[in-house]
């Protein structure tokens, strides 16, 4: 125990403070660590004990709020569920999520991603409207299974950091928002598929994806956004076909 408690590990953290730094640069910190310490806990100990100016987002500590995504040794990860024991002996490189503008230190801009989510009509457009007094819509476990995995997305944006297409074209709607779109399109209570598919025919939509599949590898929640993208390619193609020669403006 005593020996283990004395173990230390070095972290290289990308720092950038807009008011004083011209360029992001790595700064080295050393922390004592224990078996069960997460990267988030290491960052917290640095902030509490060494340098209060280090900024990063976090809240739940249990891989559900989606706040703490960052690049850890080059891979997009949730800091709260990545453990130093798996990264030892280090040094460990910690940087903000790839493909997003840095606001400061490990904090990146989330607003554009949230706008994408909002743009895909992320709500039920009911097939049949009924008042609450009439009770719930029936949905069998099999009907639920058709969309449920896509509803588990925690909006952590790790898949965007892994996606080369998004890196090249920030307007690409991207895997997370596509998963959400499929979450509603696949829901037996919903009738909004048409409207949503209209959004993704264009060049920033589903056809931007070159099917690399890195998004699903990065996803900490097994949402499999690549599958959502694929389903939508099929749906988009099918939809396009059905519309025949109807002139559509897809831009």
């Amino acid at each position: 125990m005593a020996d283990r408690d004395r173990l230390t590990i070095e972290l290289w953290i990308l720092r950038y403070r807009p008011a004083q730094d011209e360029e992001p640069h790595f700064v080295s910190y050393t922390v004592t660590y224990t078996e069960e310490m997460s990267v988030l806990e290491a960052l917290q100990s640095i902030k509490d004990e060494q340098d209060g100016s280090l900024s990063f987002r976090w809240s739940c500590r249990m891989a559900i709020c989606g706040s703490c995504g960052m690049m850890i040794d080059g891979t997009p990860k949730l800091a709260c569920s990545t453990f130093l024991r798996d990264l030892a002996p280090g040094p460990v490189k910690i940087a903000p999520l790839e493909n997003f503008p840095i606001e400061r230190d490990l904090v990146v801009t989330v607003a554009d991603f949230v706008k994408k989510i909002e743009s895909i009509y992320p709500f039920i457009m009911p097939k049949e409207t009924k008042p609450v007094e009439a009770g719930e819509y029936l949905q069998t476990p099999a009907q639920m299974a058709a969309y449920e995995p896509f509803s588990d997305c925690i909006n952590c944006m790790l898949c965007y950091a892994a996606c080369p297409q998004f890196g090249a074209n920030p307007d690409f709607i991207g895997p997370g928002a596509m998963a959400l779109l499929q979450r509603y399109n696949g829901d037996s209570r919903d009738a909004g598929s048409r409207e949503r598919l209209d959004l993704i025919h264009g060049e920033d939509g589903v056809w931007s994806c070159t099917a690399v599949g890195l998004c699903s590898e990065a996803c900490p929640k097994l949402v499999d956004p690549a599958n959502a993208v694929n389903q939508n390619k099929t749906n988009s193609a099918f939809d396009f076909f059905l519309r025949g020669l109807r002139k559509e403006n897809h831009s």
Binding site: S59, M62, S81, T140
Partner: protein, 597 residues
Amino acid sequence: MDHFDTDILILGAGGAGLRAAIAAAEAAPDQRVALVSKVYPMRSHTVAAEGGSAGVVQAHDTLDDHFNDTVSGGDWLCEQDVVEYFVSHCTREMIQLEHWGCPWSRKPDGHVNVRAFGGMKIERTWFAADRSGFHILHTLFQTSTKYKSIERFDEYFCVDLLVENGRAQGAVLLCLATGEFCAITARAVVLATGGAGRVFRQNTNGGIVTGDGMALAFRHGVPLRDMEFVQYHPTCMPGSGVLFTEGCRGEGAFLLNKDGYRYLQDYGLGPAEPQPRNKYMELGPRDRLSQAFWQEERKGRTVTTPQGEAAVLLDLRHLGRKRIEERLPLICELARHFMGIDPVDTPIPVRPAVHYTMGGILVGIDTASPLPGLYAAGECSSIGIHGANRLGSNSLAELSVFGRVAGEQAAAFAKGAAAAEIPALLDRARAAEARALGLLNGKGGGERHSVLRKEMADSLEKGCGIYRLGDEMQQACDRLADLRHRYDGITIDDKSRAWNTDWISALELGYQLDVAQAMAHSAIARKESRGAHQRLDGYTQRDDANYLRHSLAHYRKGASPEISYSPVTITRSPPGQRAYGALGEQLEHARKEATHG
């Protein structure tokens, strides 16, 4: 300073704030709603709720049963008229969430399924696997984007309320990204800022759960009610405090001590049957289970984790892999990933951690606080349904039921209210800005706020834990007064403006200290044992003659809070003995005979 004018200002975009915003937008589409949150709405701590939300649906269940479970669960410190309203609106709200898309778990026939929960006599907890809060929050957030009248201020931190002429009329916000301030003026204000569990050391709460709204209202003269009642959840991860939902026990998990013995049978919760009956054994209420842990630890019958924490064992093995993975996927992930334990073949070491603040901002059944124009809903409020101990799955239901009420009431108030008194409000906003900048730029005496935060958490854990003693509570009060004093001399490392989380945590600590003082002083003043407030120093019994009353903590600038009391509304359930297990059943039987016989 930037200035926005709106009609209804909602501070907090967790379950309660989002539900309020949607209700306001639906009730008054012509009014503008400003929805403010210090994190993106889907990061709010509602996201972490696992187990589920209450609402009577089964044919053999009744609203009376839900009422009685809630009132006796709260050790009769509940506002019974409010509980009555609550239980009769839960189910409607759960169906509303279903209509908005919440993926509630289903039965094979397509109807919504319900599970058992601690202290609930009949299964009535709606669940979405073990990610119920997550799905409720995402459903509400995504649905809220439909309403054009809702304008969001994501990642804006509230530093003060704006009060003029005895009426709440807005708030001062700090934009996290830029570090610049803005004022929002409004005709009505809703607080939905969540709980305060982070004032304790081991807790199940996210970093953002720092009691901000409670302190804001408190500083403006609104009493905090029943703050001594802090819930310990019995099954949390040793060290971090991360929760293993009561849903585990709802599905049939056992709690074992180091000898593999189901110790709860020694604490009036038995008999121990292979399939725990509702309100027996593992399905007893949280306060009783946490207290039993404490006793087992004293008896040396707990295990010790590698990190040196005492723990008991949460045993799911007999449920089998399929059920565990299907019903409790998040629990599997947490145990496997965070602890390296597979619950399919190994029991999980667990211990109690602080989970929920029963008390909060005093509001009436209409969610209105005593300060005109100010409403509150969700965990930051004390509307009176939880009493001295909250039942699991009642608070997600509370968010929905009273979030809606708050949105509708605020909309109605805003419609009748005079326009905000803008010039005077902006003067106040500038003064609040100057105070916050004073904290940032002040030289201070060099002490770090992180040191104070740890001391605060330690002193509350010692003084206001599962069992309490007068002298230890006094020590907590004294240490908190000292910390309050030292807070004025802290130095912030970081003097910059954009994303200065050092500064934000210091501001939060200011809120936390106010809330901590309200808790400790309310606790020491209550000379009895009731629900989550258990004393070992001669006040071990419930004392209805003197303390069947709510405590009210009143803010005093530069001094400790003053405590007063107010009556409890009792409509139809006279205080009885609170019992679970076989005794509980006998007593309930007798009560029924007495009322019907």
